[in-house]
């Protein structure tokens, strides 16, 4: 700031007003304290017992799949890494059919082109992580020059898809949690398609557990010591601002695909 003094005065003005308000009000008998006493344990575990939560393991996977179906996340269960690569290439082929938008994508070829990612300015934006390098290694030839690694560049407009890992998955809500260490902030929101490569063992039964793992066991194990932002993503981007009708792909991805590796 050009003038630091008013800023600190502002701070004192606001905090001082808050402190004084609290002191002033504390003596007022009108304050109802019953509800606050009522739920001491609720303050400890705010969501506990309020939702039906699957048991860990098989039930968690099942619930995750159900919730994803409801929120329009497409989940593809994968047995092995080779299989994952094969599925991925199929998806990338079909990406060509994902609204080729000639106005926005100069040089977009007609659908049915045999090249995997043909559109000139497009490309696959990928979080630079060993698991994803392995996943893509069989495809490098088809994709040559069309992969943009997060270690080299930021995700920009007109990428065909973003491919990332996840911090965790949530069975309760069918959510995928992506941090900014998953290829940055834009990789999972800017492209029309977001593909997540995740393991079934990453599924947390509920939000409570997932949030606890983000926060870390102690203050310096927090996700936020290595990532500046995280998003709990529950299905593809959507809006119902027009006559309450659901439309996918409002600002973010129109499709969200999870490649879910079933073996640990």
């Amino acid at each position: 700031m050009t003038s630091p003094i008013p800023e600190s005065r502002n701070r004192e003005a606001v905090l001082g007003a808050v402190r004084q308000a609290l002191r002033h009000a504390a003596s007022n008998p009108a304050e109802r304290d019953a509800p606050a006493q009522a739920s001491r344990s609720a303050l400890e575990f705010p969501a506990r017992g309020l939702f039906s939560i699957p048991a860990p393991g098989e039930a968690g996977v099942q619930r995750f799949l159900e919730e994803c179906a409801a929120n329009r996340t497409e989940v593809i269960q994968i047995g092995s890494e080779e299989q994952a690569s094969a599925v991925l290439i199929k998806i990338l082929e079909s990406v060509m059919g994902l609204e080729p938008n000639p106005a926005a994508i100069p040089g977009a070829g007609p659908a049915g082109n045999t090249a995997v990612v043909a559109a000139g300015s497009e490309g696959l934006y990928v979080q630079d992580a060993p698991a994803l390098r392995r996943l893509l290694s069989p495809l490098l030839e088809n994709l040559s020059g069309r992969i943009l690694w997060s270690s080299a560049t930021a995700c920009e407009e007109n990428r065909a898809a973003g491919l990332t890992l996840a911090e965790a998955l949530v069975a309760q809500t069918g959510s995928v949690i992506v941090g900014s260490d998953c290829g940055g902030r834009a990789a999972s929101v800017l492209p029309e398609l977001h593909i997540v490569y995740a393991r079934a063992s990453q599924i947390a039964p509920d939000l409570e557990t997932a949030l606890a793992s983000l926060g870390g066991a102690s203050a310096n194990e927090s996700l936020f010591d290595r990532a500046s932002m995280a998003s709990v993503v529950t299905g593809p981007s959507r809006t119902a601002d027009i006559e309450k009708l659901l439309v996918l792909g409002a600002h973010g991805p129109r499709r969200l695909i999870v490649l879910l590796c079933m073996n640990a």
Partner: protein, 479 residues
């Protein structure tokens, strides 16, 4: 025209508008059905509300501590925290940040606090093109209107209205009314502006003290884009948005989504810990958080009314309110319409908005809908008590109440006054019923008045229970 009269005119016009009534009815019926399903996902909705209330009560009771904890932790990750005592200070802080970075183009996500301080107008006046990117907000910005509803800004519009607007402003085909196509067109238009923006502004739904995080809830992804693409980001929010712990979101995210739209959880719930870290490919180089007071600490100072600060701006009370359903959002002419706006605005913005606390039947549907258990209708009564105690009410009302209290102070007096009033009313000729000559016009203009009965209950009771005695006071002669 003062705010009270303006309100009366706007309310009358809206109450007579059959088209808007139909639109609101349809929207709210759809919402109600979704919320009923959504609440069903909670094993115990009432317990969820009780806990949310307890958590907010704790957050507000120790607000100073939690604010400082939040500040300390997020500053440690490189964010800057600014404190704004009022709207002018908040605008100045943000303009100063923008000027320092030579900002020309601003993208904004939805933030009722930014409406509260009229931020967009200030930025535009300073020559910065400012785009609302939430679809509903974008629509009302194109129409040059304030949002109609705090969660559903374009609730008052049919798709034909939006199609016409987009045809005119974006050049979509005149007959293109499919929501998909309209959303596509808006997305395309806004993408260009996102990519070119120098500053992103978002609100916050919650501030998390124990980890120093800003939590933003949305469905579209525009807030995430505002936090990803521009080189500088500002988060503008009120000081009351604190939650003590990250764990609280396991309750508050589903609660807000359920009450707001009926969703189990909204599509994107983001947590901001700071500006871009070293090694990250994108994200703003600077993150500024502006904490706004603007009257909130005044509300905090009143222990009986401070629960109004528990509000998480879910919009449920608006949808539940029969007055909102009748007059809509614009008639209020406030940032926050509906029950919560009616209760809060007189406290935040002063006596000019006293009338809002009186423009309600106090039915309590709002409190029943509120996911954090704010007894909004009782707060409206407390607003009224403040207005009356400060002698801000019309003299005529004061006189009426005084007269009633005077008459009711003595049973004899009460009975005589009642008898006299009934006699006089029985003289009221039917011909003037509902006309300007009718002393009962405020009532009879809209509905029929009952016939004044010849005998009060107490007179009847006396007559019935004591044998008639001549010259006794017992029997009230039928008049």
């Amino acid at each position: 025209m003062n705010a009270a009269r303006q309100f009366r005119h706007a309310a009358r016009a809206a109450a007579q508008d059959a088209e808007i009534a139909g639109i609101l009815r349809f929207n709210i019926a759809t919402y109600d059905a979704a919320v009923a399903l959504g609440r069903g996902r909670f094993l115990d909705w009432r317990e969820a509300r009780r806990r949310a209330e307890a958590i907010k009560r704790d957050a507000i009771a120790q607000l100073d501590r939690y604010l400082e904890e939040f500040e300390r932790r997020i500053i440690a990750r490189g964010a800057a925290v600014h404190w704004a005592p009022d709207a002018a200070a908040a605008r100045e802080i943000i303009l100063e940040i923008a000027r320092r970075h030579n900002v020309r183009r601003v993208v904004k996500s939805k933030s009722m606090v930014s409406e509260e301080i009229h931020l967009r107008e200030a930025l535009e006046q300073a020559g910065m093109a400012t785009l609302e990117t939430d679809l509903g907000e974008y629509i009302v910005q194109l129409r040059n209107e304030p949002p109609y509803h705090i969660v559903t800004p374009a609730m008052h519009l049919r798709r034909e209205h939006i199609a016409g607007l987009f045809h005119q402003k974006l050049g979509t085909p005149a007959d293109e009314t499919s929501p998909e196509a309209l959303v596509r067109a808006a997305r395309r238009e806004m993408r260009q502006r996102f990519v070119a923006a120098d500053l992103g502004i978002t609100g916050a739904n919650f501030l998390i003290a124990d980890h120093g995080l800003v939590a933003i809830t949305e469905n579209e992804g525009n807030a995430r884009l505002c936090a990803s693409l521009p080189p500088v980001q500002v988060v503008l929010t009120g000081i009351e948005k604190l939650l003590p712990r990250l764990a609280d979101l396991a309750l508050f995210w589903p609660l807000l989504a359920t009450a707001g739209t009926g969703q189990p959880i909204t599509c994107y719930n983001s947590l901001l810990g700071g500006p871009r870290r070293g090694g990250e490919p994108d994200g703003p180089r600077e993150l500024h958080i502006v904490l706004l007071d603007n009257g909130r600490s005044r509300v905090l100072a009143d222990a009986a009314q401070r629960e109004l600060l528990h509000c998480i701006r879910c919009g449920a009370c608006l949808n539940a309110c029969p007055v909102f359903q009748t007059i809509g959002g614009h008639a209020y002419a406030t940032t926050y319409p509906g029950p919560i706006g009616a209760a809060l605005t007189p406290l935040l913005r002063g006596p000019a908005y006293d009338h809002l606390a009186y423009a309600t039947s106090l039915c309590g549907a709002c409190a029943e809908a509120c996911p954090v258990g704010i007894e909004i209708h009782h707060q409206l009564l407390r607003d009224r008590a403040q207005a009356a105690a400060a002698r801000r009410r019309p003299w005529s009302e004061r006189l009426e109440i005084r007269a009633l209290a005077w008459a009711a102070a003595k049973p004899r007096r009460f009975e005589r006054a009642g008898r006299l009033a009934r006699r006089l009313l029985r003289l009221r000729p039917q011909a003037i019923d509902g006309t300007r000559l009718d002393p009962l016009r405020p009532w009879t203009r809209y509905r029929q008045a009952p016939e004044p009965p010849p005998q009060s209950f107490r007179a009847w009771w006396r007559q019935r229970n004591s044998p008639p005695a001549p010259n006794s006071m017992a029997a009230e002669p039928p008049s």
